[in-house]
Amino acid sequence: MVRESLPQPRTRKMTIIAQDPSVRVKEGRSLRILTARVDVPAEELAPGPSGHRVQVIDYDSSNNTLYKPARLTDGDPYEVVTDAQLLSDPGFHAQNVFAIVMRTLARFEFALGRRVSWGFNGHQIKVAPHAFADANAFYSEQDRALMFGYFQGQENMVFSCLSHDVIAHETTHALVDGLRERYTDPSSPEQAAFHEGFADVVALLSIFSLPAVVETVIDLGTNAPDKNASELIKASALTAARLRRSALFGLADEMGQELSGIRGNPLRRSAELPPSKEYIDSPEYIEPHKRGEIFVAAIMNAFIEVWVNRLQGLGKKARGGLDRRRVVEEGANIADSLLTMAIRALDYAPPVDLQFCDFLSALLTADREIRPDDSRYNFRSILRSSFESYGMPPTSRPHADGDERGIWESPPVGLTYDRTHFESMQRDPDEVFRFIWENRKALDLFEEAYSHVLSVRPCMRVAPDGFVLRETVAEYMQMITLAASELKSLGITAPPEMPPETDVTIYGGGALVFDEYGRLKFHISNRILNADRQTRRLKYLWEFGYFQQGSSAFRRFANLHRLRAMNLPTVMPGEE
């Protein structure tokens, strides 16, 4: 009998460099570059590789050279190769960058339960693994591309396309830009810091979710000199301080130092930042990159804390010590879960003027929706205390008895659904806009402002109980441009030196989360008429010269990274 062929496998293994070529492991007598085999969504790749979401085009603009594309038709051609081959074969570089970009995209799609678009109008992002001879790498929205530079280091050529954290970081910019397009608007130091901080968090957690990496760094701080000597780690070695030293500092030390010209040192800096409520109001931390470090520190500290808690729970049962593999597995799983949580939170975050405290409320709420029972890992309470220890309490205040602290409030009562249709509310921005307009009073919108539904996204997430959590997430924004002299009528105070005729645009907006019956579950908004917030925002932008410079979105990520590498402020208090 002739039968249909079995369904094609959904994933494919590809070899990548686990972090970057300077992270090495002992193999026999020599040190080898630490690699990992990761799952990438399977598809029939065209030369490049060129797939349905990612196209690698290996053009080097500094040398005006176009390399012939890699052909990755089948299998994992780089599973067994020498280090020299990894470094010198542009085909491997293409595979490495392709696999990590696709893996990051897949991570976002898994967490959000839907397809996720890039931050530009198009399906395939172009990736140039050897874009130019420069210590820079960035996402360029206008060019619909990720560009990775290379440069001559002290000893070897340094390729940013071989650095996992750099690739994941840039890919995250492209994805967050698609999910929350207004996060690059001039707003507060925190919104500017968020893009960088969040990209760092995704990059670091992606690396820690690889067991090979955790295994390598864990040995550094747990007195396990030779992994073959002992399969057990003493429970006493698994304290927060020890794990921070081995995992965070350990990896930070191993990472290619020359790449800090591109990425800064987010891991080291966050590991060096002990909890304190002082940073958030300190003028030193008003600079966006530096401010982003507080965010990274809060999450990485929570990662260590959850891990230690989990291990200590297990350790009590196993007196002689803990199985090394178990320690590693727990670490990688926790990093992976935290990564999923962080990405999910984006849907529950206000679409304009984001503050870290808003993100914490988003994190707690999104997680509670899909995973009400948090008793095994205590992710939520640990994240809440970690953020609070850095002076970032959740935005949402306690509202009803018995509610978990920090989660968003439920929406106002009395919303009308009568004139909208359930089916189109799940995909049609005009229909959602109608809903918003009908309910503008209840939702506290500013009637006179320009209002716009930015997206309507139905999503399905699998809950730990096996059932599907179905939600529709829509985001809208409002904006209005007024002369500085008119701001007073809205209760907003313009900076005293601002000329009264200056044009000032203020923004507001919200995320609407509908449940599976089409009823509004959450309305997470930053109202345009929040006078305090608008006054603070204008004061900051004025002081940092935004109104003098005019605003240019020109290749903003490229510039952002350049400034980060140069350690310069993103906006200079300029005179001209």
Binding site: N63, L66, K68, P90, A133, D134, Q152, E284, R555, N559
Partner: protein, 423 residues
């Protein structure tokens, strides 16, 4: 009138195209004393003679009777020092050297003790050395960018190409001029904001204040932002470009490449070339600014007359001097202002311009004099508001001062003299 005070001062402003060259002659009862401030050019008008720089050098020599009292090289950009270049005893720099300046004044960044190859343990702090060494890396960056734009020729716009070529070249080492400045002169002063100028004995009756450049420490004292300096960044970039110098520069010599790009890659290639052009321009502008900010700022005072020569100092250089009340007072009644950086956007900060009390719309004896040495069409673009001289600034200078630009020196006119009565 005591003989120890000059009775007048003549400023000779040379037409050197895009560059600076000023000869200050202080007329004393006994003899004239001559101070040359900068001598360089990166672009000359089409009508200029081929041997312009030699003619200027000879004119300087003639004017000072073969003896210069002092030479000031505000900073090491080509448009300020190329005239000091020597050529087998026959270059314009050889002529200046033959005038045997008694004193040579340069910014602290030129101090041989601060150079990366300095072997002696010195008074120069490690932070300062790191900064100077990053200036050297910037030369390397310029060098590799010039190489790179040749490969990208055709891929980037003509405007971007010209700008890159201009700025890249201005920031090359100028080794011959640098060495000549180092060896000419009896006494060398490497100055910073607040230090002695070295002119006290040479110019009796004239007070010379050094208002810039600030040292690394001085700059840090006024920055609110994180003070870690970007030295490392420039070292990295200086190294980064080294690969371009080897052979054909290709990263993977054994890998197969396309001679002509297939259709599906052309859009991105075109975008990447434009992007790389923009990036390089951004870099070279950034390093150009750093170099400009090493400019010596001198303020000469005779009686109640003050003459201000800030080289190419931009905002960041000025910020230190302007942070001090005593300097703001000093600057208030400036009589002559050599317009900073050929009239660019941010070399005349509003906080400086606003101090000048002699600004006035109408002619008067006290009215501020402004002199700019410049050449339009070499630097920046009007559409981006970066053109030099900046039209907005020129308008303001014309409106509020007696304004002179070297662009008005046409034909065979090599210079223009302005005499200021100091009695």
């Amino acid at each position: 009138m005591p003989a120890t005070k000059p009775q007048s001062m003549t400023l000779r402003t040379y037409q050197v195209g895009f560059g600076d060259c000023f000869l200050l002659t202080f007329h004393y009862a006994k003899r004239d004393r001559h101070v040359l401030i900068d001598f360089g050019s990166t672009g000359q008008p089409k009508t200029a003679p081929a041997d312009l720089m030699l003619q200027v050098a000879n004119n300087i020599k003639e004017r000072c009777g073969g003896k210069l009292d002092a030479v000031v090289a505000t900073h090491r950009h080509k448009d300020h020092i190329s005239g000091f270049t020597t050529s087998k005893g026959k270059g314009s720099g050889d002529i200046i050297a033959s005038c045997e300046p008694t004193v040579v004044i340069q910014p602290w960044t030129e101090d041989p003790d601060a150079q990366p190859d300095a072997t002696q343990a010195t008074h120069v702090s490690s932070g300062a050395k790191a900064f100077v060494s990053s200036l050297h890396s910037m030369h390397a960056v310029s060098e590799s960018l010039l190489l790179e734009i040749q490969r990208l020729r055709g891929g980037i716009s003509r405007t971007a190409f010209n700008q890159l070529a201009f700025l890249g070249e201005d920031n090359l080492t100028n080794r011959s001029a640098v060495e000549n400045l180092m060896t000419m002169g009896k006494h060398h002063y490497y100055v910073n904001a607040g230090s002695k100028s070295g002119l006290a004995t040479i110019l009796p009756g004239v007070k010379t204040y050094v208002l810039g450049p600030p040292t690394v420490k001085q700059s840090q004292a006024i920055t609110k932002m994180r003070s870690k300096d970007p030295d490392e960044f420039w070292h990295l970039l200086g190294l980064a470009g080294q690969s371009l110098k080897r052979g054909n520069g290709q990263l993977f010599p054994k890998a197969e490449t396309y001679a002509a790009p297939p259709a599906q890659t052309r859009w991105l290639i075109h975008r990447m070339q434009a992007l790389r052009g923009d990036q390089m321009l951004e870099l070279v502008r950034a390093l150009d600014t750093v170099m400009n900010n090493t400019s010596v700022i001198l303020l000469f005072q005779v009686g109640d007359k003050k003459f201000l020569f800030p080289g190419d100092a931009q905002l960041e250089n000025w910020a230190y001097a302007l942070s001090q009340e005593k300097n703001r007072k000093l600057l208030a009644d400036v009589h002559l202002y050599k317009v900073g950086h050929h009239g660019s956007l941010n070399a005349t900060p509003k906080s400086l311009w606003g101090l000048f009390t002699n600004r006035a719309p109408l002619q008067s004896a006290k009215r501020l004099n402004c002199v700019v040495s410049t050449m339009a069409g070499k630097h920046g673009t009007p559409s981006k508001g970066t053109e030099v001289p900046r039209s907005k600034l020129v308008e303001e200078l014309k409106k509020m001062s007696n304004y002179f630009t070297t662009q008005d020196l046409k034909g065979k006119n090599l210079f223009k003299d302005f005499t200021f009565d100091l009695t």
